[in-house]
């Protein structure tokens, strides 16, 4: 039997790590979405702010948050490693290469969609997480409303969610293939579950900026 280090450093091991972190991050999306949807409760932002406060103050959540960032970091670093090794494996490129005739678009653009999601993540964290955590922002609902009254932000978020959907379109079911669970028997079930992640979750997320933008957000939060 080989060591754990050998295991995790093997090509399959790295893919497993990718899948594991990816799935964890997907699960986080559910939690994140559930909280965010509180914005849509038309209570002037009270529920959402309470939630945001809880997330910022609870030590357990703070610990989990560190874990989350760790997972993101592993997902990125590991992803870059895999990408680089795979690139090297080809050597000389093909002059004509019709990968498009054999594969789906999302599966071909994982590195690109990942980079875009990362870009989005930086902007998103700067916009919401940094103010909440480090700048003492109390009225998170208000921040949401002011942000999404700007049409450019809305557009940026919508594009980002489409890209995230693409990333998950391939990534989610791919993880199950990597775990070896995607057998003929479960393929349908996995595809079904995957649709929740790549379609339903991004659409629900998209509702927030759209709703705010279209209604002006007066019911969502009281602006100071």
């Amino acid at each position: 039997m080989n060591s754990f280090f050998t295991f995790i450093n093997s090509s399959v091991g790295k893919k497993l790590l990718m899948s594991l972190t990816g799935l964890f991050l997907s699960l986080f999306l559910i939690v994140h979405l559930a909280g965010n949807l509180l914005v849509l409760r038309q209570d002037g932002g009270e529920s959402f702010n309470t939630y945001a406060h809880f997330m910022g103050g609870n030590p357990l959540v703070r610990t989990l948050e560190i874990g989350l960032f760790l997972f993101i970091a592993v997902h990125i670093v590991n992803g870059v490693r895999i990408w680089w090794q795979n690139r090297k494996a080809r050597g000389k490129r093909y002059d004509v290469y019709r990968l498009d005739e054999n594969t789906t678009l999302p599966s071909r653009m994982m590195a690109l969609s990942a980079s875009l999601v990362l870009l989005f993540l930086v902007v998103h964290l700067r916009k919401f997480w940094v103010p909440a955590r480090f700048e003492g922002e109390q009225n998170m609902a208000g921040l949401v409303v002011t942000t999404f009254q700007n049409g450019w932000y809305v557009l940026f978020y919508l594009i980002a969610l489409v890209v995230l959907g693409y990333h998950l379109r391939h990534g989610f079911q791919s993880a199950f293939q990597t775990f070896g669970w995607k057998t003929k028997r479960y393929a349908g079930l996995i595809e079904f579950a995957a649709a929740f992640f790549w379609l339903v979750i991004p659409v629900l997320f998209a509702c927030i900026p759209l709703y705010v933008y279209l209604t002006g957000g007066a019911a969502v939060a009281s602006l100071r």
């Binding site: 039997m1 893919k15 497993l16 050597g91 002059d95 990968l99 054999n102 293939q177 070896g180 057998t183």
Partner: protein
Amino acid sequence: MKITLKVWRQKDQNDEGRFVEYTADHVSPDMSFLEMLDVVNIGLVKKGETPVAFDHDCREGICGSCGMMINGRAHGPGRGIATCQLHMRSFRDGDTIVIEPWRSNAFPVLKDLMVDRTSFDRIMQAGGYTSAKTGGVPDGNAILIPKPVADEAFDAAACIGCGACVAACPNSSAMLFVSAKVSQLALLPQGQAERTARVQRMIAQMDEEKFGSCSNTYACEAECPKQISVTHIARLNREFVASQF
């Protein structure tokens, strides 16, 4: 039919290589693709030039020798065929066809369209067998294998080792090839004793040969001349995880 060919020519492993254009006149739609190349080669020899080198042998899609990238597709257009089974009726008069060797660092180009696929043999050496010594085995019917299991093992065993999976994969991954053997022997009772060591050693060898890793694009399955399913890759992954416990 008249066909224009853009063929990768490379004198030997150290040569840079380049595309050279040839014209094939009087191509019959009944010709196989390799027969078309034969005709081009006869013309080249007559002109005193070296013919295009390519591996080929059985010309019925089972030995796995032939294999080239034809217009960006491993084994050319069509599903479930090796290059030798491709016929010129798949092309139209006046077409330009770009022919390149398999590209992968684990398959160095030897000459023109010939590549070195011995990395596959080294992977097989690392456990692609059952350690059954000649003579010391039970009766064939002493090992019962239900038909569905035998059939699925067969589907995996159909691999001809041509390398199209590696060539087609954006990552030059050999997972479909490795999974075919691991899956076959994992399914059969005969393969159980060495199950753990086999999957670990074969994957270690695969990595050592510098094949890429699988990103589940399934380009391999699409281009496999034997249409081996990626469910075998899933089984390989499962075997690999299970082997750690």
